[in-house]
C-alpha cells in the first residue's frame, strides 16, 4: 500500500456566530491514496464545503474555528503550519475548483493573465526561485512505492529567491514559452479556440467555459491533490454533463488525487472510486463506491439511496426520510441520526456516538460505517 496523499484525523470545525456555535464538521477522519478519487456526498448544510475549505485552510477564521484534528498532506500537518507558509502549499500542492465559476475569476484581468499567473507560480517554485511545495518531477506517476516527503522545501528554498521574474521583454523566449503553456492547458480542458479565449475577459465567457478555465488554472499548478467543491452545481444540466465528462476524461489523463464534493449521488457514482457520506457534520459511512451503493451499512445512507429518483421505479411517490436535519448548534446526544433512525436503541443516545468501524468483512479496501447496528441495516425495508 502506498503512503496516503492526504490523511485527515479527527477534524472538527466550528462556526462561532451570534446565534451560537455551529459544529459544521465533527471528528471526521479519512485517508486519500495517490491517484484515487474520494467523493464526499451529503445534504446541503452537512459540512461538505466546510470540510473542503478546511483542508487547505481557506476558511474565514473567524467566524470559523478549526477546533482540533490533524490534516496531514504529504507528511506535513497543515493545521500546525504557520499561516504565512500556507500559500506555499496551495496551488502547486493542493489546488481547488470552486462552486461559483461566475465569480471565481477576477473580472479585471484577461483569461491569459489568470492562467499565466498560476503557471508562473509553479515555474518559480519548480526552479527553486520561490519557496513552495511542488509535486515530484513526474507528478502523476503513482507507481512508485512512496511519495517523497518534501516538507523541508517549505522552510528553505532550494536556491535563494531572486524575487519575481516579471517585467520581461514581450517577445522573449520565456513569454512565448508561457503563452504556449497557457494554450496547452486551455486545450487540455477542451476549449476549442484557445487563441481567442486568451484575450477575453471572464464576463465574456459562459458559465461552463469559466469553469473549464478554473479547472485549467487548478491543474496548471500540477497539484498532488485537487479539491473539487461541487464544481458543477452552479451550471445547468447540459453544461454539467459536459464538465463532468471533461473531468472524467482528465482523471484518466492526469492521475492526480481528487477530493470530489457533491450533493448528487449519481455524480459521485460516476466520478469517484471511494465515497464518504456526511450527515450533520459527521462522516457516517466510508467505502468503495460500488460496495457502499450496493450494500449500504448506515441507515442514513440507505435512506438517501432509496430516496434518489430512479428511472426504473416510477410508481408512487419517492420514499423520504422522516424528520429533518438537526440544527448544527444543537446536535442530539450520541449518534446524530438517532431521532430519525428506525434502528435507534437506547445506546444510540449515549455520548460519545458511534465511531467509524469496519462494517463488512471483505477483502480489499475497507468499508466503514458509524453505526452500532450496521449488521441490521440490509434488513430495513
Amino acid at each position: 500500500m502506498t503512503e496516503p496523499v492526504l490523511q485527515v484525523e479527527g477534524l472538527s470545525v466550528d462556526y462561532e456566530v451570534g446565534a451560537g456555535t455551529f459544529h459544521a464538521v465533527q471528528d471526521v477522519s479519512f485517508e486519500l491514496h495517490p491517484g484515487r478519487v474520494l467523493g464526499i456526498v451529503g445534504e446541503t448544510g452537512c459540512g461538505k464545503s466546510t470540510l473542503a475549505h478546511a483542508i487547505p485552510r481557506l476558511l474565514q477564521e473567524p467566524p470559523a474555528r478549526i477546533r482540533r484534528g490533524i490534516v496531514r498532506f504529504r507528511g506535513i500537518d497543515l493545521l500546525k503550519l504557520p499561516r504565512w507558509q500556507l500559500p506555499r502549499v496551495r496551488g502547486t500542492g493542493i489546488s481547488m475548483v470552486f462552486q461559483e465559476p461566475i465569480n471565481s475569476l477576477n473580472p479585471a484581468y484577461r483569461i491569459y493573465d489568470q492562467v499565466a499567473e498560476a503557471i508562473r507560480i509553479r515555474r518559480l517554485r519548480e526552479s527553486g526561485q520561490a519557496p513552495g511545495l511542488v509535486s515530484p518531477q513526474e507528478p502523476f506517476d503513482y507507481s512508485k512505492p512512496k511519495m517523497p516527503n518534501v516538507g523541508e522545501v517549505l522552510l528553505k528554498p532550494l536556491v535563494p529567491s531572486k524575487g519575481p521574474a516579471s517585467r520581461r521583454p514581450m517577445f522573449s523566449k520565456d513569454a512565448q514559452d508561457l503563452r504556449a503553456t497557457v494554450l496547452e492547458y486551455l486545450k487540455l480542458v477542451r476549449i476549442n479556440d484557445p487563441d481567442t479565449i486568451l484575450n477575453l475577459y471572464p464576463h465574456e465567457l459562459s458559465g461552463g467555459m469559466r469553469q473549464r478555465v478554473m479547472i485549467a488554472i487548478a491543474l496548471s499548478g500540477r497539484p498532488s491533490l485537487l479539491i473539487a467543491d461541487e464544481p458543477t452545481s452552479a451550471l445547468d444540466i447540459t453544461i454539467q454533463a459536459q464538465v463532468l465528462t471533461l473531468m472524467k476524461e482528465l482523471m484518466t489523463e492526469i492521475r492526480t488525487s481528487i477530493l470530489f464534493i457533491s450533493h448528487d449521488l449519481g455524480v459521485i457514482a460516476e466520478m469517484a472510486d471511494d465515497v464518504g457520506v456526511m450527515y450533520a457534520g459527521h462522516l457516517v459511512e466510508l467505502g468503495p463506491v460500488d460496495q457502499v451503493y450496493r450494500d449500504p451499512r448506515h441507515p442514513y445512507t440507505k435512506g438517501l439511496l432509496r430516496s434518489a429518483p430512479s428511472k426504473y421505479k416510477s410508481e408512487g411517490p419517492l420514499p423520504s426520510l422522516p424528520g429533518s436535519v438537526p440544527n448544527l448548534s444543537r446536535l442530539p446526544r450520541g449518534c446524530p441520526f438517532h431521532p430519525r433512525c428506525v434502528l435507534a436503541h437506547a445506546d444510540c443516545t449515549q455520548d460519545p456516538g458511534p465511531k467509524l468501524t469496519k462494517a463488512v468483512e471483505a477483502a480489499g479496501p475497507e468499508h466503514l460505517a458509524a453505526c452500532y447496528y450496521s449488521k441490521e441495516v440490509p434488513g430495513i425495508p
Binding site: P62, W84, P87, G91, S95, F98, A108
Partner: protein, 363 residues
C-alpha cells in the same frame, strides 16, 4: 478572408509582431468605440470631459510656453494676453460717480481689448485668471492625489488585515480610530485652523488641506476592500497559492480602482473650492501669488463689487467653471463605472445605430 491574409504573411518574428500590433489596434478601436458610445449616452459627461481637457491644456500652455519660447526664439512666449505681471503705468482711467462723489479708477469694463476687463491697478483680468489656473489646478490634482495615496494606503491596510485580536487587527483599529478623530471635525474648519496655525503661504495651505483630506479616502478604500476581500475570486487566488500581499496588490487594488477614480475626480473640484475658501478668508496664499480665492478676497476688500463687478465675477467664475467641469466628468464616470447606478448603463445599452431593424428584416 482572414485566413488568406494569414496564409500570405511571412512566418517568424515579423509576422508575430504584426499580429500583436493588429490585435492591439483592434483593442484600441473597440475601446474608442465604447468610449464614444458612453459619451453619446450621457452628453453631459462629454461636456465635462471637453471642459477638463481645455482647462488642463490651457494650464499646461501657461506653464510651458514661456521656457519653450525662451529656448526656441530667444524670448518668452505666452498665451496670456498681457502677461502675468503687467502693470500699466500710468493706467488708463475712467471716472466713476457714486452718489455725490466722483473719482478716477483704473478699472475698465470688458471690451475687445480686455475681454474680462481690468482691475483697480489696471491689470488685465483675463491674464490674471489664466495665470492663476496652473496653481489652482495643481492644488486640485496634486493635493487630492496625495490625500488619496495616503488615505488609500491606510484604508488598504485597515480593510485587508482586519482580523480581530491580532497585531494587524490592532493596527487596523488604530488607523480607523485616528480617522474618526479627524472626521469628527468639520473638514473646512479643521483646514482653516491648521492653515491659520501654520501661517500664510502656499505650502502651509496645501499641508492644511492634505491633513484634513486623507480620512475620507481611508473610509472609502476600506469599505471597498472589505467588499472585494470576500469575493470568490480572492479565495480562488488564495487557493492558487498567492501570498496575501500579492493578492492585495494584484487582485484587490485593481478592483477598487474604479470607485476611487470616480471619487477622486469629484474631489478635485471640492479641494479647489476649499483651497480658494482658505485664501478668500485671508489665511491662505499671499496676495502677490495669483490665485482665484485671494483675487476674490482682494477685490472684495477694495469694494469693487459696486463699481467693477467683472473683477470678482471673473475670478469666481473661473472657480465655478473648473469645479463644474470636474463634477460633470466625475458624475459621468460614476455612471459609467459603477454597476450599481443602472440608469447610465441602461442608456448606454440602447443601440445607437439603426442596424438592428435591418438585421431583423434580413432574418
Amino acid at each position: 478572408m482572414a485566413g488568406d491574409a494569414r496564409a500570405t504573411q511571412p512566418a517568424g518574428w515579423l509576422s508575430r509582431k504584426r499580429k500583436w500590433l493588429t490585435s492591439q489596434l483592434t483593442h484600441l478601436r473597440s475601446g474608442l468605440r465604447g468610449f464614444l458610445r458612453i459619451m453619446r449616452a450621457n452628453p453631459l459627461t462629454l461636456v465635462g470631459f471637453v471642459m477638463v481637457v481645455l482647462i488642463v491644456s490651457v494650464a499646461v500652455l501657461v506653464v510651458l510656453l514661456p521656457p519653450i519660447g525662451q529656448a526656441l526664439v530667444g524670448h518668452p512666449v505666452s498665451i496670456l494676453p498681457y502677461g502675468p505681471n503687467y502693470y500699466p503705468s500710468p493706467c488708463p482711467t475712467r471716472i466713476v460717480t457714486t452718489g455725490n462723489y466722483s473719482y478716477p479708477t483704473c478699472t475698465l469694463p470688458p471690451s475687445t481689448e480686455h475681454l474680462l476687463g481690468t482691475d483697480n491697478l489696471g491689470r488685465d483680468m483675463l491674464s490674471r485668471v489664466m495665470a492663476a489656473l496652473p496653481l489652482d489646478l495643481a492644488i486640485g490634482f496634486v493635493v487630492t492625489a496625495f490625500a488619496a495615496l495616503l488615505g488609500g494606503s491606510l484604508g488598504l491596510v485597515a480593510g485587508y488585515w482586519n482580523q480581530p485580536r491580532t497585531i494587524k487587527g490592532a493596527i487596523s483599529v488604530a488607523i480607523l480610530r485616528l480617522t474618526d478623530i479627524f472626521l469628527a471635525f468639520p473638514s473646512l474648519v479643521l483646514a482653516l485652523a491648521i492653515a491659520a496655525t501654520l501661517g500664510r503661504g502656499t505650502l502651509p495651505t496645501v499641508l492644511a488641506i492634505l491633513l484634513t483630506w486623507w480620512p475620507y479616502y481611508v473610509r472609502l478604500v476600506r469599505g471597498e476592500v472589505l467588499v472585494v476581500k470576500h469575493q470568490p475570486y480572492v479565495t480562488a487566488a488564495k487557493a492558487a497559492g498567492l501570498s496575501d500581499l500579492r493578492i492585495l496588490i494584484r487582485h484587490v487594488i485593481r478592483n477598487i480602482l474604479e470607485p476611487v477614480t470616480v471619487y477622486y475626480t469629484l474631489d478635485v473640484g471640492t479641494v479647489l473650492v476649499t483651497f480658494s475658501t482658505i485664501s478668500f478668508i485671508g489665511i491662505g496664499v499671499p496676495l502677490d501669488v495669483p490665485e482665484w480665492g485671494n483675487m476674490v478676497e482682494y477685490y472684495q476688500t477694495q469694494n469693487l463689487m459696486g463699481i467693477a463687478p467683472w473683477t470678482i465675477l471673473a475670478a469666481g467664475g473661473a472657480i465655478f467653471v473648473t469645479v463644474l467641469a470636474f463634477s460633470l466628468l466625475g458624475d459621468g464616470l460614476r455612471d459609467v463605472l459603477d454597476p450599481r447606478s443602472r440608469r447610465a448603463l441602461a442608456q448606454a445599452a440602447v443601440p445607437t445605430t439603426v442596424a438592428a431593424p435591418a438585421a431583423l428584416g434580413e432574418a
